[in-house]
Amino acid sequence: MRLSNRLKPFYTPLLLTAIVLLVAVLTELISMSLLVRIVTVMFVSLILVLGLQLFMGNSGILSFAHIGFMGIGAYTSVLFSMTPAAKTLANPEMYPFLVTLHLPFLPAVLMGALFATFIAAVISFPLMRLSDAAAVITTFALLVISHVVLVHLDRVTNGPRTLFGVDFKTTLWTSVVFAVITIFAVFMFKESRVGLRLRATRDDAYAAASIGINMVVMRWLAFTASAFLAGIGGALWAHFITSFSPYSFYLTETFVILAMLVIGGPYSVSGAVVGTLVVTATREILRAIENYINILQVFPEGFFGFTEVVLAIVLILILVFRPSGIMGSREFTWPPRSRKEDYLGADQAANPNQ
């Protein structure tokens, strides 16, 4: 068998990897510290968006809980990676058994992700039979619960105060490596038996049940896997930002990640990548404008919220005119497929109830 034939099923993740590497290399060449920061955060966001795509795109269920698991991953990894001295300094009240924990960076990230996965696996199973509004309220409830717990668990998270003193570990290339692995993982999940079955339940729950697909189990596997990626994303983010509080893991962050996925196209892995790139670029340009106006001091009270307002309008426009996002349910392939062929699929994916 020729190499090109064997690679064919992987054209999509390979193309997406090429895009990621291209952006990373360009960033490295320009080597502007602000750009490096933006691109690193973008690749971390990409991991989060891909994680959300893994659950939302394949199951068709809107989940608000994702950022909650990001927070769990961030705090857990940090508790492992910080030195006992740094922990005592940042939070003198911390439980003694937590202070003694210490692991190198990569195992700490893994612990963060595993703990998020564990929490998700334990609590989510009974929730997975809920659909539509009930599912949305329960995942929203999970987000609120995780937030309240993070804010008030003073002796673990330092409460609502900022936890500082985390070592900077997430470089541009760390985020690139993790993002590329995530692209492959999410793509392979989509094409796997579980992914295929889950997408069947999304398109027609009854037909899927009639051929013996257990919707609850499929959704549970995807939700748990998605929490793992959220945990990784959170852990990497924490080791990039180095000081943060529980308020970083709530509705604002949820909105951004959701906007990235929905604008790009929640039903395809390529959509998640495109959405992350497009929204990051848009946000940074808007934020630059916002900062510029603030420096000029045109408004006495400051000029805040402009970025979010524009992003919200863009999101609404996308939902009105192109509800399945920029990519629809298409993936990047080579040679590029004609749009017509897949358009019906995109429509159905956008509206599984029809």
Partner: protein, 297 residues
């Protein structure tokens, strides 16, 4: 600890929560939309009061009516501009839209007015209390209860005796059938959004009456309250919303008395755990609606 003061305060809180929940359920009943932008309508009511008390010599009563009107028109406007175009697409699209509308309104207020809190001048009545059977009861609480009674009576009359109200109730039971019978969908949905806006407006007067200030993020706590109350009472029933509001207020007040302070901080988390359990065990809530909800698994 459970005395007359406690009871009146709880009823007052319950009245507020009942009105809050009603505004959310009236839209959910018809569209299955959990409107995340509902809290921001309360913010709109608050800012209207802030702007008018500062800029005009209008009496407080007129200003509060205008605040209710502002919330209602915002609600109608969001329906027309954002929800109507995505309505036919999918429920998920509508939910994300409502989340986007919420962000839009919140950051709009941040952009146009200020991130800082703005003081809202309240009438003297809101700061005074009256003695009832030996306990001092704030007038604010009595007004909340009276307003709730008046609102519920008016709403019941509207829903029972007007054509629009009957159409609204029919739509909540079976929207497709109601449309087949010739009731225009847009009219029914617009009415629902108008009522929802009015409820948010009324709530905003009393909600802001407690803090006497308004911020862009003031809509989040009442939204969470409305979520919990509607789930407790039953997402599909208007009676359920009222019951849910009062039950939630009672639970919150009792927790305030009996829960040790170190657990009190986690009160909201407990309530949402409770919400999840209800959705799993008794998704129809306390008051079951006539039409059943489809469920699998």
């Amino acid at each position: 600890m459970i005395n007359l003061e406690f009871i009146i305060n709880t009823i007052s809180l319950g009245s507020l929560y009942a009105m809050l929940a009603l505004g959310l359920v009236i839209i959910y009943g018809i569209l299955r939309l959990v409107n995340f932008a509902y809290g921001e309508l309360i913010m709109i009511g608050g800012y209207t009061m802030f702007l008018l008390t500062g800029a005009t010599p209008l009496p407080w009563l007129v200003i509060s009516f205008l605040a209710v009107a502002a919330a209602m028109f915002t609600s109608l406007f969001t329906e027309l501009v954002a929800f109507r175009p995505v309505r036919e697409k999918s429920l998920t699209a509508m939910l994300i839209t409502s989340f986007a509308v919420s962000t839009l309104l919140q950051n709009g207020a941040l952009l146009i007015i200020s991130p800082r809190a703005r003081a809202v001048t309240l009438p003297q009545l809101f700061q005074t209390s009256v003695m009832i059977a030996g306990t001092s009861v704030p007038w604010r609480n009595i007004l909340t209860i009276l307003t709730c009674i008046a609102t519920l009576v008016l709403l019941t009359m509207l829903l029972r005796y007007t054509v629009l109200g009957i159409a609204l109730r029919a739509a909540a039971d079976n929207f497709t059938m109601t449309r087949i019978l010739g009731v225009p969908a847009n009219t029914v949905i617009s009415t629902a959004f108008a009522i929802s806006g009015i409820m948010a407006g009324i709530v905003s007067i009393f909600w802001i009456g407690r803090s006497a200030s308004v911020t862009p993020t003031i809509g989040a706590p009442p939204l969470l309250v409305a979520f919990v109350a509607t789930v407790i009472g039953g997402m599909r029933s208007l009676t359920g919303a009222v019951v849910g509001g009062f039950v939630y207020a009672t639970i919150i007040s009792l927790l305030g008395v009996f829960l040790p302070p170190e657990l009190m901080e986690f009160r909201e988390a407990f309530m949402f755990v409770f919400v999840i359990i209800i959705l799993l065990v008794r998704p129809q809530g306390l008051v079951r609606s006539k039409t059943s909800v489809e469920r699998m698994g």
